[in-house]
Amino acid sequence: MRLKFMRDEGRKVAIKTVKEIGKPSSDPTQRVDQFLEYFAISPVNLDPSGIILRLEHLLDVREIRFMDDVHLMAPQADETQTNNLENMLEAALALNIIYKIMRHYYILGKKTFSLYIIMQLQMVLPLIMREAKAYASALKAFTQGQPIGDGAGALVAATLMRKHEKTQIAKDVVMAKVPMEGRTTYVIKAKGPGGNVGKPGEAIKRIIEENDGKIALAIVIDAGLKLEGEKPGEVAEGVGVAIGGPGVEKYKVEEGALKHKVPVNAIIIKEDVGDAVSPMRKEIVDAVDNAIQRIKRLILERSKEGDNVIIAGIGNTIGIGQ
């Protein structure tokens, strides 16, 4: 019942916001309902060779399709609002899918008199409800254009690149050359303040190639899931590419880094799965200074003066400018 309420409320909020911001000439209800039923079929994995490129193509097509639909639903919305509306509709779509899958197993359990199906459903329900609540919270944040927890990495990068000239380096990704501790740092983040994650992998790969692989260090900052018992806003360091999502962007960075032997370090700002898609918590905002201190320390320890360093702030940049 709660899931159904969340799904219905999400749909209602989505339609209301599209009408409010987009000022469409006709009723967008039918188009929103169509949007909430969208699906994407993942590429065949029987032959895994080249699957990343095929997946990327599929995701690109999906995004273009979503953006076109949002443009049709909300013709008066500007670029930032269109991105926010697209994010909001994706949250509503996620709520709809969760509700429908749970309903499917519930009805299936009743139809087949299978206690085991119902029991499994009952067991996973608390986790599913947690996720659904997070999406409901995200939906509200997206309608207002509020920064969310996932944008922690983008906020770090935005703080570093402020007051420096920015250029677009890849699709929806901006870059600024920032001198830091005698090194040249290439700071990148998704283009804000609209809801956007951009293509940071593409951007990092391009910077590495433009510098002929002469990159002493790459630091990737992202929001990371905390374990129960850990405090939100804790900062941790490690190695590897801290980029979530389906893996396309992560693959590109790994590929570029391997080719030119660029060491990739990661800094994560820990938070709950619910916090990642909810409006940003104060603890996460406060963790930005700590993360910047860690970046500076890493640069001093792991590179020499005059070196080139890449600093990539990953995450949804909704509500965060640059």
């Binding site: 969340m6 799904r7 219905d8 018992g229 405090k231 940003m280 918590r281 905002v285």
Partner: protein
């Protein structure tokens, strides 16, 4: 094709009808108990009274629970604070979040030095219910 999105009924009318009947029966039972006491039949009187009171309490509890669930089911808008900072004189102002606010947006002039202020952070404060760590 039926509409996949139906509106949510707040409380089932059948449940309300059942509760109403139970409520009336419990009142009637208490009345019978009272009558029995007056007529000197203390044993049946207390049986009717206990039955009536229990039913009344149960129906009240069910009604309360139903109402409580309705109150809880609402997508909450969480209060957010927007901090504005004057980069010249370091004056800080905190106000409620407004649609259109974003971090590093230039906003109204500083009341102290007239320089344009910048939104330095947007956040929500969470009060922990209990200690998370063991």
């Amino acid at each position: 094709m039926s509409d996949p999105f139906t509106t949510q009924k707040k409380t089932s009318p059948i449940l309300i009808a059942i509760l109403l009947v139970t409520f009336l029966l419990s009142i009637f039972s208490i009345f019978l108990g009272f009558n029995s006491y007056v007529e000197g039949e203390a044993e049946s009187g207390s049986t009717y009274m206990i039955l009536g009171a229990t039913t009344l309490a149960l129906s009240g509890y069910v009604l309360f629970q139903t109402r409580k669930r309705i109150f809880k089911l609402a997508l909450e808008t969480q209060p957010l604070a927007t901090t504005m900072l004057c980069e010249k004189c370091s004056l800080k102002n905190v106000r409620d979040f407004q649609r259109g606010d974003y971090i590093f947006k230039e906003v109204e002039p500083c009341p102290k030095c007239n320089e344009k202020m910048v939104i330095s952070s947007i956040y929500r404060e969470v009060k922990e219910k209990g200690k998370e760590e063991t």
